[in-house]
């Protein structure tokens, strides 16, 4: 069995999720073949060198592929799928994966399953576990191969690099007449906020309700010596700047302590913080999915907890 894995990369580094997909392919006993789209063969080779656990790499090189271009990438993945007929096409459920998996599924007439958190092979049937309804339910879908899956980042651990660089086979794809171009890559300004490297993070969710209460959260963060972060609704509502967002569309973090209040734990958020060393979650809803991921949980009102905790932390110093 063979898996074709769409390898995401930026700034010359393959993403963690590509390695995770490789590990997942191995876990069902499949061959992992990476598809690397980059500006030139040299870049493809350099990236392939980082995929030590992969069995092979298919490279597509074109100027339009220097950074991720949804149109070009969809054509490349469609062409590679049609040419190599893998049993399973795998993408991460990232922005690119959301673009590509359903698009290629339609173009190649394959079935696909998204939000995948685990795979099991049962004869010719692939059982894909997905977290749906914001993590409130788990779906198990039996898919006859060939198929496509889009896997939640962080669903499995990437194994270490083993073996040498996989063999690279370049492939020609007609990328003429692309209907879009990337004009600019926007990197968030350095604001002094560095969630990725923070040792302790205090994250608040939608339940914060507005900017009026931010001070309470800031006090906890200050007393704890932690960076303050927010989940997507907090950032979308403009209560905190984008640099403080943890999750799929924000920053992925791995602190020693991830304390959270009023975050229900949507998969997109879990994706960004599930690997934290110690997770403590406060939520007023005892059914909040976050309690399935956190190490410690408490059902209580965050507005009562925050001042109480600030007091404890300050007194304890």
């Amino acid at each position: 069995m063979r898996c074709l894995i769409f390898v995401e990369h930026s700034d010359g580094t393959v993403s963690e999720s590509a390695l995770e997909l490789g590990a997942m392919a191995k876990s069902i006993g499949a061959e992992a073949v990476g598809l690397i789209c980059a500006a030139d063969p040299g870049a493809v080779n350099a990236l392939a060198g980082q995929l030590g656990s992969f069995d092979a790499v298919i490279g597509v090189a074109d100027d339009s592929l220097a950074t991720y271009n949804p149109d070009a990438a969809a054509r490349a993945l469609t062409a590679a799928t049609e040419a190599h007929k893998p049993d399973l096409v795998m993408t991460s459920y990232s922005a690119a994966g959301v673009d590509l998996a359903p698009n290629v599924a339609i173009r190649t007439g394959r079935q696909m399953v998204g939000y995948v958190s685990g795979l099991e092979l049962d004869g010719d049937t692939l059982n894909a576990m997905s977290t749906v309804y914001s993590g409130k339910l788990v779906a198990r879908t039996g898919m006859d191969l060939p198929g496509i899956v889009a896997v939640m980042p962080g669903a499995v651990k990437a194994d270490g690099l083993s073996g040498g660089a996989p063999a690279v086979e370049m492939m020609d794809v007609d990328l003429s007449g692309l209907r879009m171009r990337v004009t600019e890559t926007l990197v968030p300004e350095n604001t002094g906020v560095n969630l990725a490297d923070a040792e302790k993070i205090f994250c608040v969710g939608r339940a914060l309700g507005g900017t009026e209460k931010i001070e309470l959260a800031e006090n906890v963060a200050a007393a704890l010596g932690a960076e303050l972060a927010g989940s997507r609704p907090v950032i979308d509502a403009g209560w905190m700047p984008k640099v403080r967002q943890v999750g799929k569309s924000g920053t992925k973090v791995k602190p020693r302590l991830y304390l959270m209040a009023g975050v229900s734990g949507a998969p997109e958020h879990l994706e960004g913080m599930a690997n934290s060393e110690l997770i403590i979650a406060i939520n007023s809803d005892e059914q909040a999915p976050i309690f399935g991921t956190a190490h410690y949980g408490a059902v209580c009102d965050m507005f009562e907890l925050m001042p109480a905790l600030t007091e404890r932390l300050t007194a304890g110093k």
Binding site: A95, V132, L137
Partner: protein
């Protein structure tokens, strides 16, 4: 300029979800439906673009129930026209994969310059709608977009990646966009506007296309077992704060 906004109803997720007897669908007995929050953003973005450029906006839906009310709300929010695709009352659980050919057919009829819909729907297990429509219509498609501006035959979009990184992408029209966040959060629409539109007839269309094939018959749903999850701290806020403090001290985190 003509913009189509595709709107879908989702179960209200503030409620505890239960699975029906045969494990194929959520138990809809006690569940309410609401506009998918990302579609809400798409609708707002469509209206914002209308305000900025004078574009015409058509809102589309394909729902077994609640579609009329949904589209009346869209009218109240400022779209110009609405169209409800009839899917049959029995089809309460339709994936985007199943509905995509119906939307494709309607869009081919409307021939909009831009299609906006939400980047995802939390139950869209067989693929999100926007990329499928892009493939079916063979139009360029971009997901996870947080900003849309219209130019002459092109749209400038901002696609969001993890780590706060994003790219500005110029895409030729017609195109399909899976929207993550509108340029500004959805505004409130006063009840008076909705009230005035409640009597409006929502035009409906019988689809000629068949539902797309998905794996719905091969999917079983279950409530995840969270019992193996967090160790729960009990007591009031004071007690919880004290316990958290202890844990942090034990681990040398404070």
């Amino acid at each position: 300029m003509h913009i189509a906004a595709i709107l879908r109803l989702n179960p209200v997720l503030t409620e505890e979800l239960e699975v029906d007897e045969d494990g194929r669908d959520i138990d809809r007995e006690w569940i309410g439906l609401e506009l998918n929050p990302f579609d809400d953003q798409a609708l707002e973005q469509a209206v914002l673009l209308k305000e900025a450029t004078g574009a015409k906006v058509t809102a589309l839906a394909a729902e077994a129930e609640g579609g009329e009310r949904l589209l009346k709300t869209a009218l109240a929010r400022g779209v110009d026209e609405v169209l409800l695709i009839e899917v049959g009352e029995e089809n309460v659980q339709l994936s985007s994969r199943a509905r995509a050919p119906l939307f494709q057919e309607a869009l081919e009829g409307l021939a909009p310059d831009l299609v906006l819909t939400g980047v995802l729907s939390t139950d869209d297990i067989y693929g999100e709608l926007a990329p499928q429509l892009g493939a079916l219509l063979d139009w360029p498609q971009v997901s996870a977009v947080s900003n849309v501006a219209l130019g002459d035959g092109v749209a400038t979009l901002q696609q969001e990646y993890s780590g706060g990184i994003s790219a500005r992408i110029e895409v030729q029209l017609p195109a399909v966009v899976g929207l993550q966040a509108a340029t500004q959060p959805p505004r409130y629409v006063a009840g008076s506007k909705l009230r005035d539109l409640l009597k409006v007839e929502v035009p409906t269309v019988e689809p000629g296309a068949d539902f797309g094939a998905d794996l719905a018959d091969a999917t079983e749903l279950e409530v995840p077992d969270t019992s193996g999850g967090a160790e729960m701290l009990t007591g009031d806020a004071e007690a919880v704060a004290a316990r958290i403090h202890e844990i942090l001290v034990e681990r040398g985190l404070v």
